[in-house]
Point group: C2
Chain length 198, copies 2
């Protein structure tokens, strides 16, 4: 007997979370036992609440509290621009720069044949359905500069160009503030390829 | 608008956990949205369940599902030995060595005047009440080999010796500055064997 049963169960559940090992799970469990009841209840409730209230926006597939998400309902958004991202968290990253004023489409993953992820597993069909009756003129592909991100970007470009829409992709290059000396060759090569006239 | 409200609330609650920063909180939240409903519900329920079902053992102050914990109810335990630890997790560490057969007392903290923790904030009164009518012959102080652990051990030794009970402390075979909870069983076992009267 190392732990009382409800404590052992809580530790076991916490251990299932990504990046939480046995030690962290123990620490989190003891923390939750220490905090006031209402504080632990708030965490438990927010988990249940999020699971119950959140769904995918019927337009962009982002996580949303409503049938159509806030971004898609925002009439000030530029309907000619559509940014395709892999995950909902990527929208948060784009929004943080306060510059992009178009809308989004979330693929919910990237092509990865090794993991059995093909176009059918992504929200590609939903993207095509959207484009059929939209004013979109440019699609900005904002997938990560990784093997999967590159493959997905290439696949989408081939699929979307015949529709007659402009397809662009976020530039790969030196991170701002970075040092040439420390950049890896692949990044430097991309920076060279994406170079622009000043 | 970066996140739908229930998602933002979930992230905010997760961020309150120790060692969980904004990025980890986001990752955990997205993970919970991805897993099946019943799995997220199990985590939420186990938090609530643990808070509702667990209390402090009326004898040793350990976290327990019952009025008196399993260790204190175990009749095979040696009633002459009492091991004083700072936290409930330290009992788990001691039990893992499978050598100590006495009972425990949990202080729920260590003396730390800087943080305003004096003897009144610890379960010292409960320890004295227990000793008044017990068969305890030796008290093994198993506080961490840290400044606070040393101060607490010295304080308890001064307090307990006049009662006529033998007071010992785990040997400093443990790396100084380390934590009981992180010590390997072999180190902890030798620390138990080399304990010395104070």
């Amino acid at each position: 007997m190392l732990f009382a049963r409800p404590l052992a169960e809580l530790i076991a559940e916490l251990e299932k979370l990504p990046g939480v090992g046995p030690k962290s799970a123990q620490r989190l469990a003891y923390h939750l036992l220490r905090v006031p009841d209402h504080e632990a209840a708030r965490l438990a409730d927010s988990i249940q609440h999020a699971k119950q209230k959140l769904r995918f926006c019927s337009a962009c597939q982002n996580i949303s509290e409503h049938e159509v998400c806030e971004v898609c309902r925002d009439t000030r958004r530029d309907l000619a621009l559509l940014c395709v991202v892999a995950e909902p968290k990527d929208i948060a990253a784009m929004e943080r720069i306060h510059e992009y004023r178009g809308r989004y489409h979330v693929l919910h993953g990237l092509l990865s044949p090794m993991d059995g992820v093909g176009p059918e597993q992504l929200r590609v069909k939903e993207l095509l359905n959207r484009l059929a009756e939209s004013e979109v003129q440019e699609i900005i592909i904002a997938t990560n500069p990784t093997i999967e991100g590159d493959a997905t970007a290439l696949y989408l470009a081939k699929l979307l160009k015949p529709i007659g829409v402009k397809v662009t992709r976020l530039a790969h290059g030196m991170p701002v503030g970075g040092e040439l000396d420390y950049a890896d060759s692949a990044t430097l090569l991309s920076a060279l390829e994406y170079r622009r006239e000043m």
